[in-house]
């Protein structure tokens, strides 16, 4: 066998393009050569996960760290896993440099610590790493040489890219021993004086760079071509496919894929306190595509279960509330999940066996899922690896969440991208400059993308100690020049190098390329000599480094906003509603276009697994507190609640009881101050509500009272009855028996409600009042929970001295507005609500405000109503043309 050996050649291909077939030839770097020799010498062994080695090393480190004099003792106590990992990294590097790890009184602290740990190790306590393999091979060869016994290695010759003496650690020794075994060492060849021709195209984004590279490849040429894909090629590959050309597939692995999230998410979701956001993400996690492109993707749980529970969580972001219980009742399979989250692991008692037991459940589930094939296989292996490591740890000592997370991360592997597929191409592809074999052809070099090797660095004292102990550590300069020289050799094999630089990627400027600077300098050039992509164009011809291509400039697209309001469609009586809720009615009045889309046509966004949080969540919670208090205080004899104020303690208790069901995130660590603020505010506000109501003599009779009342509309196309539905927050009666309706809001803005009330345009209140069907109509008002203030006429509730809202007039105008809107729709005219008002109003806040006031005044004068819509930032606003990019 003949071997081509270079320091930077690990991972390079050994099949030279176009060579047909070959046997007995190999190209490799240090890792490859050691592996080969292990096979030849009978020194193979099962591969060991790095996670396992860290766990093993940790077992060795921990007893040392019991001694506070042990140099890294403090770090071990603080973060055992990472510290062990770091120490192991150093240990392996020292080993790589050729050190035996033998203790010696004169060792500097870091090396002394490594030696001390090593000393404790029984044989086999630490699975060998790559550096140990090298040592073992060297020692084996030494013994063979000493014994003089022949052991044919089957290697005829090794062509070296570097002088053996230039290599660090035991490499010169190894190569010497091989020579002693009869392997012929040749090379390295003298450095070539040849400098390839160089073109550098400096782009400003990846797509432009991809265009340049793809065009160069598409243009074709006769010379052999090597694509040096030094940077991520995902964007380039799309550009290549777009041209029917093969993809390069140099896309980085990442653990951000669903399959890698499973273990961590699962353990988070089953550890107390349960974070419902994590639980929702776990439920929602998509692991496999559905059976066809139209089907929903598959996750860990059956679709129906997932749906039911996610639905419950989006209504009530907590566990155990009514929505959650309803979902459990509806879906049998949900019980299993309920069992997992309602008896969660305790965060302070994460002992390895307890975790492993939970993981068993997960492993079973994953196996059941498509038999652990496809992407799920990665999850299965991940669980396996984590359980393997857990089994090695002391079962009695609880892990910190951080350590557990580190183990999960360590075991996760790399997460290969499905995009990382190199396709058959008429050019050769390499990812490192050192591996380029251009044979006088052209190299197309995409992106600088080199990263300096991050070998641990020894300080001068350590270097001396290592050398004294017979090791041959390399200096950073030395390692850097080994890499750079190899890269330059690779590029030097080309006649011409064409470098295409993307300029920026993910809004970051890539670090300037050292290699490119060297190449440019060798030709007496600098950045100012680079080409810009537009320099490659001349008329309708694109050309770069001798390759040309015809291009055309597509005509400018005219993009116009949608037609002006109103839109005309055919008669559309089929769109008329049977039912109206308050919010539907309000949408209908404010913007028929929006109403048609959302309600008549059912064009809606999908439910996302994003649970309510912040203001909406707190609003629901405080509403529920009021509801609960009313329920428990209702006295049948009184026909409602007594006119007293609930004790602060009781309000607090109700709040505390409801938080886990409706706002469980407030119970998570780190939220206690916020929770305290909200609780104090809620207690105060709820008590103020009861107090004001009592002072005003209003007895609360019910909450969340649902209603449904037919409304006869006199439409142009004939009478039509629609069912008006909704539910009232608070019903009450005064001493005289006159009913009252109060709507609760959790909001910081009072002004809007003041205004609606004072202008009798609070149509929500009007609707609720009408729903009672009494004459005279009830008194109405808002209670703003956040500021603990009423908006109402009764000075006992609201001291601002308002005139009572004219509920009947409000309702009349509302019905008139609904009638007009529906008549228009039925006749095929769809008004585009606020666009009609705002178009031409001008961009500033004031201008828009004036436009609204004008529209309102006009409508009022005509006995109608304008509802100001807040939908300008919704997705509907794109479809109506209010917002949009018409550049």
């Amino acid at each position: 066998m003949q071997i081509d050996f270079g320091w930077a050649l690990d991972g390079s291909s050994w099949a030279d393009a176009g060579a047909g077939g070959s046997t007995g030839r190999l190209r490799c770097g240090p890792r490859g050569l050691v592996a080969l020799l292990q096979t030849r010498l009978g020194l193979t062994r099962p591969a060991v996960d790095q996670a396992v080695r860290i766990a093993q090393y940790l077992q060795l480190v921990e007893p040392c760290a019991a001694d506070p004099a042990f140099w890294p003792a403090r770090s071990v106590a603080l973060d055992p896993w990472s510290t062990a990992r770091q120490l192991l990294r150093w240990r392996d590097a020292a080993r790589e440099d050729g050190w035996s790890l033998a203790p010696d009184a004169a060792l500097p602290p870091r090396l002394a610590a490594l030696a001390m740990i090593e000393q404790r190790a029984r044989p086999g306590a630490l699975s060998p790493g790559a550096a140990d393999d090298l040592h073992e091979v060297v020692e084996e060869l030494e013994q063979l040489a000493a014994a003089g016994t022949p052991w044919p290695l089957g290697i005829t010759s090794i062509a070296l890219h570097e002088e053996p003496s230039a290599l660090p650690g035991r490499w010169p020794a190894l190569l010497g021993l091989l020579a002693g075994q009869g392997v012929e060492l040749t090379g390295p060849a003298p450095a070539s004086e040849h400098r390839p021709a160089l073109e550098v195209v400096q782009c400003r984004d990846e797509w432009t760079a991809a265009d340049v590279a793809a065009r160069f490849l598409a243009a074709g040429g006769t010379e052999p071509l090597t694509l040096l894909a030094a940077a991520d090629t995902d964007v380039l590959d799309r550009a290549l496919h777009r041209r029917g050309l093969p993809a390069t597939g140099h896309v980085a692995a990442s653990t951000d894929r669903a399959a890698h999230q499973v273990v961590g998410l699962f353990l988070d979701a089953v550890t107390a306190p349960v974070d419902v956001h994590q639980l929702a993400a776990l439920l929602d996690l998509r692991l496999l595509p559905g059976p066809d492109a139209d089907a929903a993707p598959r996750g860990l749980f059956p679709a129906r279960v997932r749906h039911a529970l996610l639905g419950a969580l989006t209504r009530e972001p907590g566990i155990g509330g009514p929505a959650w219980r309803a979902a459990l009742a509806a879906e049998e399979g949900a019980a299993e999940i309920d069992a997992l989250v309602s008896t969660p692991l305790r965060a302070e008692d994460l002992r390895p066996p307890v975790i492993a037991e939970r993981l068993e459940w997960l492993a079973r589930r994953l196996h059941g899922l498509a038999r652990g094939q496809g992407a799920v296989l990665a999850s299965v292996l991940h669980v396996q690896a984590v359980r393997g490591v857990l089994a090695m740890l002391d079962p009695g000592i609880p892990l910190s969440r951080r350590t557990l997370q580190q183990i999960i991360d360590e075991c996760g592997g790399s997460g290969r991208s499905p995009r990382a597929v190199a396709e058959v191409a008429p050019w050769s592809v390499t990812t490192g400059a050192a591996q380029v074999r251009a044979d006088g052809g052209t190299v197309l070099w995409l992106g600088p993308g080199e990263s300096a090797p991050s070998a641990p660095r020894w300080d001068p004292g350590e270097l001396r100690a290592l050398e004294a102990a017979g090791a041959r550590p390399a200096t950073p300069e030395h390692l850097a020049s080994l890499q750079v020289d190899a890269a330059l050799r690779g590029l030097g094999s080309a006649q011409r190098v064409v470098a295409v630089l993307p300029g920026r990627r993910l809004e970051q400027d890539p670090a300037p390329s050292a290699l490119l600077a060297l190449l440019e300098a060798s030709r007496g050039r600098d950045e100012s000599d680079r080409l810009a992509p537009q320099d490659l164009l001349s008329g309708s011809t694109w050309s770069l480094a001798g390759r040309t291509l015809a291009v055309r400039t597509p005509p400018r697209a005219e993009i116009a906003p949608p037609p002006e309001s109103p839109l005309s469609i055919g008669p559309a009586a089929h769109l008329l509603p049977e039912r109206l809720s308050f919010s539907q009615a309000s949408t209908l009045i404010s913007c028929p276009h929006h109403w048609v889309l959302q309600y008549a046509l059912g064009i809606r966004p999908a439910q996302v697994a994003a649970l309510p949080t912040g203001r909406p969540m707190i609003g629901t919670l405080v509403h529920a507190v009021v509801e609960q208090l009313v329920h428990e205080r209702v006295d049948e004899d009184l026909g409602g609640v007594p006119l007293t104020v609930p004790a602060a303690e009781r309000v607090g208790e109700v709040f505390d009881a409801l938080v886990p069901q409706l706002a469980s995130e407030l119970d998570l660590p780190g939220h206690s101050a916020e929770r305290g603020d909200i609780r104090a505010r809620a207690v105060r506000s709820v008590r103020e509500l009861f107090e004001r109501m009592a002072v005003a003599g209003l007895r609360i009779t019910g909450t969340e009272s649902g209603f449904s009342r037919p409304l006869a509309l006199d439409l142009a196309g004939g009478p039509r009855t629609v069912d008006v539905r909704g539910s009232r927050d608070l019903d009450a009666v005064d001493a005289s028996g006159r009913p009252a309706v109060i709507d609760l809001k959790w909001t910081s803005s009072r002004k809007g409600y003041d205004d609606l009330y004072d202008t009798s345009e609070a149509i929500q209140l009007a609707t609720y009042a009408w729903s009672l069907g009494v004459d005279p109509p009830p008194t109405v008002g808002y209670y703003l929970l956040k500021g603990a203030e009423f908006v109402a006429a009764d000075p006992a509730l609201d001291p601002r001295g308002r005139a009572p809202m004219d509920v009947e007039d409000s309702w009349r105008r509302m019905v008139a507005a609904i009638t007009t809107a529906l008549d228009d729709v039925a006749a095929g005219t769809v008004h585009v609500g606020c666009r009609e008002v705002l178009e031409g109003a001008g961009p500033t806040y004031d201008q828009q405000g004036r436009a609204w006031s004008g529209a309102r005044a006009t409508a009022r004068a005509e006995g109608g109503l304008v509802v100001r819509a807040y939908c300008g930032s919704s997705e509907y606003a794109q479809l109506c043309g209010l917002t949009g990019d018409w550049r």
Partner: protein
């Protein structure tokens, strides 16, 4: 030991000097890995290292140039972060920590102190309400929400940490904060009269109510004027009624509520020159109360106690939080920027090993932008300086503009003094002043020369004023002619004759007009011009005004979701994740002009008779060929990362091609990049918060994205940005938008650091103390006047004013060829810098119709072109720039070509078996079976056997074979499953078989093989054994660890494809096998495969 400090005024070739200094050191023997260099930004760091490398190359130091990456070059934070990480075990911290960015730091702090603050704040709720610091952590300013007191705690804790103040010091400072506040602003405590005041107010209001009721009485006989007066009073009454209700809840009534009454005392009736505060009637009714409250409020003992208690609460909680936050980070493995610096400092001070290592490892410490150094950083540099032989520090105290980040410009001045005096621990150093400008032409320099010596009187003139370098002068011929300009708007006057300034909306329009005029010069392009403003809002306004004139401008582009391409990606993502998102689907139809239903979607939907019909319409839309790629993408989704998904969506919806025919393709490409960056940021943030990183969460994050792409560096674009962000940049023509007023804020509240009475730069942190003054009664003049006069407030104001002067210096030194002052005849910000007077004389002034700028204290005015600009954008005068060449495409219109998609590599073992490949002969027994029916570890047994058979057994003696067998069963842990004996036996059987069947054959084990098949796919693999028979024939052997019962069937089903592939590969390599054998060592059998 050498210490060189280079004073480098703006444009004096600082980077050049520094890189050549470093190169000289390298020439003198410095190894690149012995260099530490810090800069202020990441970009500057990357540039410095690139420049160093190129300079070394220029100077023929190729070897060292190659090793430039081994130097430690980075921002101050990254350098110290790296040192801290490297020495983590010395510091006793975790070697793997995640660095929090500013945003993450805020939330981490809140989470960390939630418990502490919750406990401390609980009993103080009423106090917090009275002092109005009980708002949410992230207040919504538009609703007038005020921030929580916990924000003050965070800021204070942060300054304590950056100033190395201990919890104990913070606690002690609480008492002093209160004492100073009391002494400066509060009288001796008197009586708490809130009760009587409230009743007085109630009485007054009752009276007013009765009075105003009379106005409605038609028989009251009141004069019309009186009726009107009462009616307007009636309108305002509710506000006061509400105030009364607030004040009655005394335990929670905010102190500032009283100032709603005291205001009256400052209005007309109280002798102020304003109008009435409410209306005459009300003011009259309340003036006595107002005067009384104004007089007595500060003496209120409850108010004083509240101030004291709040100071103590905030400062003590901040002290407690130091521990809580540290613990939190320790447990979660987090570190913030302050930890990096403080941690590194402690490490350098405490660890002898670290000091030794640094001493031996580094030889040159280069510090760039030294003036922006904070005290901790200086302390760090000083520690390092004592360990590192040579120091080169470069800076310009005139360009220190980061006080808000803790930088302290007096430090640099102090260091210069120390080095010149030579009597401190620093020893004597060399101060070098760079005297020449390599940037600016004479006119630009003349303006700087005219004003800045007056603004920096404490600096020697030669450290303020530069002359053009003679060599640079030579290059001017190729540059556009330089000059000065001053811009103004048409003169408008108030009635009183004073000049009426243009509105905030008019100024950007005028600037755009001026730029349009500049662009009328054929030699000037948008890329030559920069506009420097004070605030981000101004920058946005200018960019918008330029866009309105069709002039491309940099800055933040259109928000990603407001740009068509962003909408398309978002909608595509939504549909890909959930087909039921009919809204997103509709939006796609609306946005993609080649979709079949584009332009007609509303009609199609409304025409559908019922729900089923509509479903059918939607189904048809989804099946439109335009969405082919998107449909295909749905299947890949579960495996993609967010960034990959965005990339895939961009391609699936063909955006790079679509964009070519839209406006501003370059900007839109930036949107695409920003979308990918958002996905990456989302993942990063989610990881930091231990939140899941899924496509669903990406969708939610994307929906919340408000920013646009960063348009910096787009060619042919006017650069618009703040003066801060312009630091380090240069442009041909620079428009400086001058503030119309010099705003001086009174600094009487918040937390702040009191410096040591005497600065000792060698111990920059010594003697500092923290203070906190609550923001109570911010508009109550009697208190604010007193506090404003304190030493603390005056010092803070002075610091701010000096910083403003340096900011102007930065702005006015950016131009190469022309500086343009956009103001209204004068530059009030500059005036305020040279004079304390209320109405200072103008330092610079110009007339609308003049031709020069007059400079105070200088006889000769500076010649300048004055332009008067329009404040309304003219119709139809759009700047025209040529369509970008990037719009050209090489792709023909029509459907996408299909790529073959064939993988470039394949493995022989993955080639499927087919009967057509050949037939399998009957097994021949060659020895005993190794395992029965595949025992527990038969896979590993198989590996061990494989490994053993890979050895050159024939060349080994029995001893060697036995030892090898023993070693392998141990290594593969199969001693029990198989045992060395058995393994050895299997080898013997195999050898015996070979001997018998192929006498004299040469055995080649583990042979590498490569092959390119007819589809050009490449295979690389290893062949177990090749036998070379004496007659040259080749036999291919593969060992298979099959323990089962149906060997023939198994081989036929599993291995025929692989064998056929190997055989063809061998043939291609010129070694076509004449026979193919499968050796089943676990069964002790050999089978022959007869390939077709």
């Amino acid at each position: 030991m050498t210490f060189t400090l280079i004073n480098a005024s703006a444009g004096s070739g600082k980077t050049y000097t520094l890189t050549h200094r470093i190169a000289a050191e390298v020439r003198g023997g410095l190894q690149p890995s012995q260099l530490i260099a810090t800069t202020f930004t990441k970009k500057a760091a990357a540039e410095l290292s690139d420049r160093v490398r190129r300079t070394l190359l220029e100077e023929g130091l190729a070897e060292q140039a190659r090793a430039t990456d081994s130097a430690l070059i980075g921002t101050v934070n990254s350098v110290f972060g790296r040192l801290l990480q490297e020495f983590a075990l010395d510091a006793g911290i975790s070697p793997e920590v995640r660095t929090l960015d500013d945003e993450q730091q805020k939330s981490a702090f809140s989470a960390a102190i939630a418990e502490t603050a919750g406990i401390a704040g609980e009993p103080a709720r009423d106090l917090l309400a009275r002092t109005e610091v009980d708002g949410p952590e992230t207040p919504e300013q538009r609703y007038g929400e005020k921030p929580s007191w916990r924000q003050a705690v965070r800021v204070l804790a942060e300054s304590a940490r950056t100033n190395l103040l201990s919890a104990e010091q913070l606690r002690e400072a609480a008492a002093r904060s209160w004492e100073e506040l009391r002494a400066a602003g509060l009288p001796e405590p008197g009586e708490d009269r809130r009760g009587p005041w409230t009743e007085q107010l109630a009485g007054a209001l009752a009276g007013l109510r009765a009075e105003t009721a009379a106005a409605d009485d038609p028989h009251s006989g009141l004069a019309k004027g009186e009726v009107n007066a009462l009616r307007s009073a009636a309108k305002q009454l509710p506000v006061l009624e509400q105030l009364l209700r607030t004040l009655r809840g005394a335990e929670r009534a905010p102190w500032s509520a009283w100032t709603k009454i005291t205001k009256i005392a400052e209005g007309k009736l109280g002798g102020g020159d304003g109008g009435y505060t409410y209306v005459a009637k009300i003011d009259e009714a309340l003036i006595d109360l107002a005067l009384e409250v104004r007089e007595g409020l500060l003496a209120n003992p409850a108010l004083q106690e509240d101030l004291r208690a709040l100071i103590s609460l905030v400062m003590n909680t901040a002290a407690d939080s130091l521990d809580a936050y540290a613990r939190y980070k320790r447990e979660a493995g987090l570190i913030d920027f302050i930890d990096q610096e403080v941690g590194a400092l402690q490490l350098l001070r405490s660890s002898e090993r670290v000091r030794g290592v640094i001493r031996s490892r580094f030889r040159l410490l280069a510090v760039d932008e030294f003036q922006d150094t904070s005290p901790v950083q200086l302390a760090l540099f000083l520690e390092l300086s004592q360990l590192i032989e040579d120091k080169v520090w470069v800076g310009d105290p005139k360009q220190a503009i980061y006080a808000f980040r803790g930088a302290d410009p007096s430090l640099m001045r102090g260091i210069i003094e120390q080095l010149e005096a030579g009597d401190s621990v620093l020893g004597r150093g060399v101060i070098e002043d760079l005297r020449h400008s390599w940037r600016s032409q004479d006119d630009v320099l003349s303006l700087v020369t005219a004003i800045f010596p007056q603004i920096f009187p404490e600096l020697p003139r030669e450290r303020v004023v530069l002359e053009a370098a003679p060599a640079a002068r030579a290059g001017w011929a190729e540059r556009p002619r330089g000059g000065l300009e001053a811009w103004c708007t048409p003169v408008q006057l108030f009635k009183n004759g004073k000049r009426k300034p243009p509105t905030a909306a008019q100024r950007p329009v005028a600037v755009a007009d001026g730029i349009a005029e500049l662009l009328a010069d054929p030699d000037t392009g948008p890329g030559d011009i920069a506009v420097l403003v004070r605030t981000n809002d101004e920058a946005a306004a200018v960019a918008q005004a330029l866009a309105a004139r069709g002039i491309p401008a940099s800055g933040d582009g259109v928000p990603v979701l407001a740009a068509r391409e962003g909408r398309i990606v978002r909608a595509g993502l939504a549909v890909a994740l959930d087909r039921r998102d009919t809204l997103a689907l509709t939006e796609l139809v609306d946005l993609l002009d080649d979709h079949g239903a584009h332009g007609d979607w509303f009609a199609q939907l409304t025409a559908a008779a019922d729900r089923d019909d509509r479903e059918a319409v939607l189904e048809r839309w989804w099946r439109d060929p335009v969405l082919d790629e998107l449909r295909a993408l749905r299947e890949d989704c579960p495996e993609l990362t967010g960034v990959e998904m965005v990339t895939a969506l961009i391609d699936a919806l063909d955006l790079p091609e679509r964009i070519r025919s839209w406006s501003d393709p370059e900007q839109r490409l930036r949107t695409l990049d920003a979308l990918r960056a958002l996905a990456a940021e989302h993942a990063e943030q989610a990881r930091a918060a231990s939140a899941p990183v899924t496509l669903t969460s990406l969708r939610v994050a994307l929906d919340g994205a408000e920013r646009g792409p960063d348009l910096t560096d787009l060619p042919e674009t006017v650069w618009v940005g703040t003066m801060h962000s312009a630091k380090g940049l240069e442009f041909s023509r620079v428009v400086v938008l001058l503030d119309l007023k010099a705003a001086v804020r009174s600094q009487t509240a918040g937390s702040f650091i009191v410096p040591a009475p005497q600065l000792d730069v060698t111990a920059p942190l010594a003697g500092r103390e923290a203070r906190y003054w609550p923001p109570v009664l911010p508009t109550f003049a009697p208190l604010q006047e007193l506090l404003g006069a304190t030493e603390h407030a005056r010092r803070r104001t002075r610091i701010e004013r000096e910083e403003s002067g340096r900011l102007q210096y930065v702005a006015l030194t950016r131009a190469k060829d022309m500086t343009i002052l956009a103001g209204e005849g004068r530059a009030p910000v500059l005036d305020a810098l040279v004079s304390d007077a209320d109405e200072p004389p103008p330092l610079l002034s110009w007339d609308n119709d003049g031709s020069s700028i007059a400079v105070a204290g200088r006889d000769e005015p500076l010649p300048a072109r004055i332009r008067t600009l329009r404040t309304e954008a003219p119709e139809g005068e759009d700047y025209r720039f040529v369509a970008t060449p990037l719009a050209a495409t090489d792709l023909p219109p029509g459907p996408r070509p299909v790529a073959s998609g064939q993988a470039a590599r394949f493995q022989a073992s993955a080639v499927a078996s087919a009967d057509a490949h050949g037939i399998v002969g009957d097994p021949v027994r060659i020895g005993p079976a190794l395992v029965e029916h595949g025992g527990q570890h038969w896979e590993r047994v198989g590996e061990a056997v494989h490994a053993y058979l890979a050895l050159p057994l024939a060349a080994l003696d029995q001893d060697q074979r036995k030892r090898a067998a023993q070693r392998l069963v141990e290594r593969w842990s199969v001693t029990r499953a198989m045992g060395a004996e058995a393994l050895h036996g299997a080898g013997e059987a195999w050898l015996a078989h070979l001997e018998a069947a192929f006498p004299g054959a040469e055995q080649l084990t583990e042979q590498p093989i490569t092959w390119w098949n007819e589809d050009d796919q490449v295979m690389e693999g290893w062949i177990d054994t090749l036998l070379r028979l004496p007659d040259g024939q080749i036999v291919l052997v593969d060992h298979k660890s099959y323990p089962g019962q149906e060997p023939v069937e198994h081989v036929r089903r599993e291995y025929l494809g692989q064998m056929a592939t190997y055989a063809r590969a061998l043939a291609a390599a010129g070694r076509a096998p004449s026979r193919v054998l499968i050796h089943l060592p676990l069964r002790g059998e050999v089978l022959e495969v007869m390939l077709a």
